[in-house]
């Protein structure tokens, strides 16, 4: 692999690792705060117990997330110095604001995690709410910077030099709102289903556990709300990609020929040489309807884009289908739960449903990882869409294989230890006298 290949792999690894913790850092505080706020109203001890248990898991994940996030802020410069020199002045603003949001998050998380007996319950739950809000803000700012890479605005390019920089316009470009919404909903959905899966696992053994019952219902509640919303936001962001990044969109859909009545291509193996997709399921005209509102709408295919500006079709198409498949599975699960609720039957009462939730546990995170592959690989060969190529941004430093291998080893060990640590947090402290009845 070339130096560029190692730089891209290291960046991808760092992002893929960090995104898990960033997402948990958004979703878990919300669940903790809801549990604690409900405890404040009802004073049921089991709810306080739950808030505390969730807080312990969050503490572990947040620490690793803070460190892996620091890695990313340095790697932007260590791996892509030319990109930062070009873009720092334009998109530094959201990063600086993110710095403050993260500061707030870290300060109030410290207060929340260590302040159980030092703060009044009301102040304590407020600190948790600040953590949840600043986590959301911090994600929004980072996404704004990424959105600019997909749809760069807020400057003028004259002979390769930037002028007329408007950092606010750059931060609030056309891709910002769709991307922020899609990612924020994804974070709550992924955390919700993952947490629901853990508690569903325990409920399968003991459906009467009040502790796991409360936990499961709260977590699955977020899934119920966010799974349908995510489909709507997915539609918005896909139409945006079709408009602003036709090459990315064509690769996502494995769509080679520019035509009206374009079909949706599900699965299959894209073949760039033959400009066709083998063994795919096609739904006639659906792509035209989704993008343009009618079967007559013409959808730009890869044929209209120079070959040297194609993203890797197979990776992008496969990742896109994987994301959509996970989202669809979660939507079906949400509908199943919704139907049970409409018929006024307890959600925890169905072993089959609980098993389905356990199996669906990782799907939100799989969808997020796949979605970031679509965003980032789909933008290639550009680091800034249409303006700067990734190959021109990479560091001249040699032997990038060394940090890549080093970080791969470290992250692999950390991931294993994390799973073990979280497991022991739950299993060794799970049985609780108060929660049995």
């Amino acid at each position: 692999m070339s130096n560029l290949g190692f730089a891209r792999s290291l960046m991808a690894l760092s992002l893929a690792f960090h995104i898990i913790f960033a997402v948990v850092g958004m979703g878990m505080p919300l669940l903790m705060v809801i549990a604690e706020a409900r405890w404040l109203r009802s004073r049921q001890p089991v709810l306080l117990d739950l808030a505390r248990r969730w807080a312990r898991g969050t503490a572990i994940l947040f620490a690793v997330g803070a460190a892996s996030g620091t890695v990313l802020s340095f790697e932007l410069g260590l791996l892509w110095p030319a990109f930062m020199r070009f873009a720092g002045g334009i998109i530094g603003m959201p990063f600086s604001l993110e710095g403050f949001a993260f500061f707030t998050e870290a300060i109030f998380l410290g207060l929340y995690l260590y302040g159980w007996d030092r703060l009044s319950p009301r102040v304590h739950v407020l600190c948790g709410a600040v953590v949840a809000l600043s986590g959301l803000a911090s994600a929004a700012f980072v996404i704004a910077a990424n959105a600019w890479m997909n749809a760069p605005v807020g400057f003028t390019l004259v002979d390769g030099r930037i002028t007329d920089v408007d950092p606010i316009a750059a931060m609030l470009g056309p891709a910002t709102l769709p991307q922020v919404l899609h990612m924020a909903i994804a974070a709550y959905l992924a955390t919700g289903i993952a947490v629901a899966a853990v508690h569903a696992w325990f409920l399968r053994r003991d459906a009467s556990s009040a502790f796991h019952g409360h936990a499961f219902r709260m977590a699955i509640g977020t899934v119920l709300l966010t799974a349908p919303l995510q489909f709507a936001s997915g539609d918005v962001i896909a139409r945006m990609a079709a408009r602003l990044q036709p090459a990315k969109f064509a690769a996502m859909e494995a769509h080679y020929d520019t035509r009206a009545a374009a079909p949706i291509v599900i699965g299959g193996l894209p073949d760039d040489k033959a400009m066709t997709v083998h063994w795919a399921i096609e739904v006639p005209s659906l792509l035209s309807i989704l993008v343009g509102g009618s079967t007559d709408a013409e959808v730009t295919g890869l044929e209209d884009i120079p070959r040297n500006r194609w993203p890797p079709t197979r990776i992008v198409h496969f990742a896109f289908d994987l994301m959509v498949a996970c989202g669809t599975a979660l939507l079906i699960l949400a509908m199943w739960i919704g139907l049970r609720l409409l018929r006024r039957r307890a959600v925890v009462g169905s072993p089959a449903l609980l098993s389905a939730c356990v199996i669906a546990g990782p799907l939100g995170f799989v969808a997020i990882e796949a979605g970031w592959v679509v965003t980032e690989v789909g933008r290639q060969p550009w680091v800034v869409q249409g303006i700067m190529r990734t190959a021109d941004a990479v560091t001249p430093a040699p032997a990038l294989a060394v940090p890549f291998i080093g970080f791969t080893a470290i992250y692999a060990v950390l991931a294993a230890v994390l799973v073990f640590a979280l497991r022991s947090q739950f299993i060794e402290t799970a049985p609780h006298p108060r929660t049995g009845s």
């Binding site: 117990d49 505390r52 312990r56 620490a63 690793v64 803070a66 460190a67 892996s68 996030g69 620091t70 890695v71 802020s73 340095f74 790697e75 932007l76 410069g77 260590l78 110095p81 930062m84 020199r85 070009f86 873009a87 720092g88 002045g89 334009i90 530094g92 603003m93 990063f95 600086s96 604001l97 710095g99 993260f102 500061f103 707030t104 870290a106 300060i107 998380l109 410290g110 207060l111 995690l113 260590y114 302040g115 007996d117 030092r118 703060l119 930037i162 002028t163 920089v165 950092p167 560091t395 001249p396 040699p398 940090p403 950390l414 640590a421 022991s424 947090q425 060794e428 402290t429 609780h432």
Partner: protein, 357 residues
């Protein structure tokens, strides 16, 4: 004052705050690695309890420095990240390992081999990172890193492998360790034995700073003339006097067991040292080719950033004040604090019992 200078002051102030807070957290890790004697475990626990609630927030000062530099001085950021690629990559490894080790150890279900292994990693990475971070200002001030036409023309080992940078690395290590030990004398109020342990450590590391500083002074003459210039120029007398008074004051206060005074003096001493370095380094980001002026980004961005920093500070400082008031105001109140410590139902420090939940 022009806007680049204002931002340079913000960067320097953030570095001072990082050293006083995050630096001391790393110093705590150094004493964790060097914990010894009959109370070694108690020393480790006291350190973990002191840094637990605050280290993640403290760490963000470093991130703030990074984002301000890349927003306001993007071309300097690109050069620094290229020239210091090797030590900074290692810093990242250290930061990840330290954070993970700290939290895994705290939540280790049983205090057995897992606990010891993470302890060792926490200590080792806490030793490594201050040294590597210290290399960076040393390298940037050395004049060994050269940039021509926006291109780095020196090798990736220039600067940070020099004697002056290595001296700075060792100095940073000792300085953070001294700061942490001094803070710990206040944190352990109520436990005379532990307080004594940290007092000895603070005195030893405080005294060790002297010879390292002297060696750095002589190295600077040839290896880092801009720093030497600052040490002998117009600003030098007041800063040198302030630093010396604070240094002697800290040691004296430790000798006579006036720990709050010792902590204040140590903090002033560290702040003076970093401000002194900053004055010497100004107006250069990388001596001698990159200045704050020639690396500055678009003026609109600089103006907006200054506004954003002011607004951020308005949120940040009250929050920090509250954090420290909640967790650090009782430290030193002897009986009250010991009482709190035993009553604490803090689920994170006393994780071994499940009945508390």
């Amino acid at each position: 004052m022009n806007i680049e200078t204002i931002l340079a002051v913000v960067i320097l102030a953030s570095l001072v705050l990082y050293a006083l807070s995050g630096g001391a957290d790393f110093g705590g890790g150094v004493w964790d690695a060097l914990a010894s004697g009959p109370r070694a475990d108690a020393q480790r626990e006291a350190i973990a309890e002191a840094i637990g609630p605050i280290w993640e927030a403290n760490h963000v000062w470093l991130i703030l420095v990074v984002v301000v530099v890349f927003t306001a001085f993007p071309s300097a950021f690109a050069m620094i990240m290229t020239a210091l690629y090797v030590p900074l990559m290692l810093v990242l490894v250290g930061i990840v390992l330290r954070a993970s080790a700290f939290v895994f150890r705290k939540y280790a279900a049983r205090r057995d081999t897992g606990y010891r292994r993470w302890s060792a990693i926490f200590g080792a990475s806490s030793l490594l990172v201050p040294f590597l971070l210290g290399l960076c200002p040393g390298a940037l001030a050395s004049g060994d890193i050269r940039v021509v036409d926006d291109r780095l023309i020196t090798s990736l080992t220039a600067g940070w492998t020099g004697a002056f940078a290595i001296g700075c690395g060792l100095f940073a290590q000792a300085l953070f360790a001294f700061l942490a030990a001094t803070y710990m004398t206040v944190e352990t109020a109520g436990d005379t034995d532990l307080q004594h342990d940290f007092r000895i450590r603070a005195l030893a590391s405080g005294v060790a700073l002297g010879p390292i500083a002297a060696v750095l002074f002589f190295l600077a003459r040839v290896r880092a003339p801009v720093i030497f210039g600052a040490l002998t120029g117009t600003w030098a007398p007041p800063l040198l006097i302030a630093t010396s008074v604070a240094a002697v004051g800290a040691l004296y206060a430790l000798m006579v067991r006036r720990y709050h005074l010792g902590r204040a003096c140590a903090a002033v001493q560290v702040a003076c040292i970093i401000v002194g370095w900053g004055i010497g380094q100004y107006p250069y980001l990388i001596v001698p080719d990159i200045t704050f002026a020639n690396a500055a980004g678009p003026p609109q961005t600089l103006r907006l950033l200054t506004v954003a920093l002011a607004a951020g500070a308005a949120v940040l400082f009250p929050s920090f004040f509250y954090l420290f008031r909640v967790f650090k105001s009782t430290a030193g109140g002897t009986e009250d604090q010991a009482d709190r410590a035993t009553r604490s139902i803090n689920p994170t420090t006393r994780s071994s019992s499940s009945t508390e939940l």
